[in-house]
């Protein structure tokens, strides 16, 4: 069996924001499937995700997406291949769920022309996938946090890109909604590749095929989830000891002493 081609191939990536170095000399490849991005606050996870989305210019190094140099792809073409959902955005005033999802069609629209039937169908599919069809005509500001998060995910699904980058989509969701979203992401991963920033390592162990660990903008580990979500690697990532339990009900990963 030949190994599947990498979704992202990152070579010697360094990124600075406002003159301050954030990412230092990262090199790794991401296989197809779901990749979890882990690390403490300020370790550079969001900056890495924005770099993978092609919206930050690297100070050094190169990112290839499915074999193509990311910085050489024009913005619209890039947006058809890679979608990014930033952390907890605020929806523009007055939008309904369907209006918001429709914004995901932006890279597919012809200038000055309205949505085509194919666009409407893509929006329908996105709303079905997130279970938001019944709420599609509700205004965003009338929804609960979990519903709002699903509406935002509808937007990036309507974008119909092969790669989906999600910045902490599980934050601020209660446990049932987290479980629901994990199921949704798993079902989405059949057709798309997902990179997700995730803090709950037990959820990461169950959701992700591959995990990338960062600390202070440097790469600590990149490998299969079971290897990276192990006590020694996690201790190197977070600088505190971890307990990793393999049980019949799946893996449990927690800081030691909790």
């Amino acid at each position: 069996m030949t190994p599947a081609p990498p979704i992202f191939d990152v070579r010697n990536l360094s990124v600075s924001l406002g003159g301050a170095p954030i990412l230092r000399d990262l090199s790794f490849t991401l296989p197809p499937g779901i990749t979890g991005l882990i690390g403490a606050n300020g370790s550079g996870k969001t900056t890495l995700l924005r770099s993978l989305a092609g919206i930050l210019r690297p100070a050094q190094g190169q990112i290839r997406h499915e074999g193509q140099d990311l910085s050489a792809i024009p913005p619209r073409a890039r947006a058809r291949r890679i979608a990014l959902l930033p952390q907890s955005g605020e929806a523009p005033a007055g939008l309904t769920v369907r209006d918001l999802a429709a914004r995901g069609r932006t890279p597919w629209l012809r200038p000055f022309l309205p949505l085509r039937p194919s666009d409407q169908q893509a929006i329908d599919r996105a709303l079905t996938a997130t279970g938001m069809t019944d709420l599609q005509h509700r205004r965003m500001d009338s929804l609960s946090g979990g519903q709002r998060q699903r509406a935002w995910i509808s937007l990036v699904l309507a974008q119909e890109s092969g790669t989906l980058l999600l910045d902490e989509p599980l934050n601020f969701l209660d446990l049932p909604h987290q479980a629901e979203l994990v199921h949704l992401l798993k079902s989405l991963a059949v057709q798309r590749h997902i990179v997700i920033i995730i803090h709950d390592l037990t959820l990461a162990a169950r959701l992700c095929d591959h995990v990338v660990a960062l600390r202070d903008g440097r790469l600590i580990a990149s490998g299969p989830a079971a290897e990276v979500l192990s006590a020694p690697e996690l201790e190197r990532t977070f600088a505190i000891p971890f307990t990793c339990l393999e049980t019949q009900a799946g893996a449990f990963v927690l800081p030691k002493g909790l």
């Binding site: 406002g18 924005r50 989305a53 919206i55 913005p75 619209r76 979608a83 005033a93 939008l95 980058l165």
Partner: protein, 317 residues
């Protein structure tokens, strides 16, 4: 639908503007006069028509640039007359008046310089331009430019000073066909803004999301801001600063467009707004001819207060 309705309102106001003045005409008489430019239509074609056309273009321009700045800065207060673009354009224009330079060029230079100064002051290396900083620092710039303009006028000769003072209140008095010709130069600036609805809409999404959707966010911001600043400057050069049009047209147009930015609606509202104000200016005091800017403020301010109060209650901003 809403656009068609507003076009009808604007046309009706335009017809009224041609009919009303020192002598009132019946609608049929207006139409008859329009068909006869050399005879009975001489007054309408010579005086009222250029005044109307410049008013329409000025109002549309102010409405557009108001909506653009408010959208770019995500703040209903961030219209060019609040954040100092109008005032820096006026300062540039008065400088040109005093030195005998081209007023339009002076206003353009002033408007662009004001925009650059605000952008530079409100710029943060990590997070880009802060809307709140832009509004507050823009208020400062507006006060500074107004004071500088007054200082210039106080030092000027009586003739220059009188002309500049009248102009500073915002007026359509003394507008003729040469000004219409100048106003037509502004159409190439207005056209891209009229077509910018989708871009403005996407710029209201979180920045990273808009960029990931393929929008060239920094380029779009800079381009739209530059066009809107030049448009403001051009209007200021023609009519002086007509108060409250730019500030009121944006929120009013959003009200009609379910909260979305609609440049076409904003332009129509601005155009009908200035036309209405000028009708009032001529109907209420045909002899004294009070400046149109006084009436735009008199109508605009209460409408704006009502709309903003409603929007705040609904938590739109």
């Amino acid at each position: 639908m809403r656009v068609a309705l507003l076009i009808a309102v604007t046309l009706a106001l335009a017809l009224a503007a041609l009919a009303i003045g020192r002598s009132w005409l019946a609608p049929q008489a207006v139409l008859a006069a329009l068909a006869d430019p050399e005879g009975t239509g001489r007054m309408i074609w010579g005086l009222r028509m250029p005044r109307l056309l410049v008013g329409l273009i000025a109002g549309a321009g102010l409405g557009l640039s108001g909506l653009v700045f408010q959208t770019l800065l995500r703040n209903p207060l961030a219209s060019p007359d609040i954040i100092g673009i109008t005032q820096s354009a006026a300062f540039g224009a008065v400088c040109a008046m005093m030195t005998g330079g081209a007023v339009m060029a002076g206003a353009w230079i002033g408007a662009l310089a004001g925009t650059v100064v605000i952008g530079w002051l409100a710029w943060d290396r990590r997070s880009g331009i802060s809307a709140r900083a832009a509004v507050l620092q823009g208020l400062g710039l507006a006060i500074l430019c107004s004071a500088a303009t007054e200082a210039l006028i106080l030092r000027a000769s009586d003739g220059n000073a009188g002309m500049a003072m009248t102009w500073l209140t915002g007026t359509l008095n003394g507008i003729g066909w040469p000004q219409v010709q100048q106003a037509l130069w502004l159409l190439p600036l207005a056209l891209p803004l009229l077509l910018s609805g989708r871009t403005l809409d996407r710029l209201e999404l979180p920045d990273d999301l808009a960029r990931a959707l393929g929008v060239r966010v920094p380029q779009a911001r800079i381009g739209l801001a530059a066009l809107a600043a030049l448009l403001t400057g051009g209007v200021v050069a023609l009519t002086g600063p007509l108060g409250f049009v730019a500030l009121a047209a944006g929120p009013l147009s959003r009200r009609l467009a379910r909260g979305r930015p609609s440049p076409v609606l904003a332009a129509l509202i601005g155009a009908s707004f200035v036309t209405l104000a000028d009708i009032l200016a001529r109907a209420i005091s045909p002899a004294a001819l009070l400046p149109t800017g006084l009436y735009t403020a008199l109508i605009g301010a209460p409408i704006l207060l009502i709309v903003l109060a409603a929007e705040f209650r609904r938590n739109r901003y």
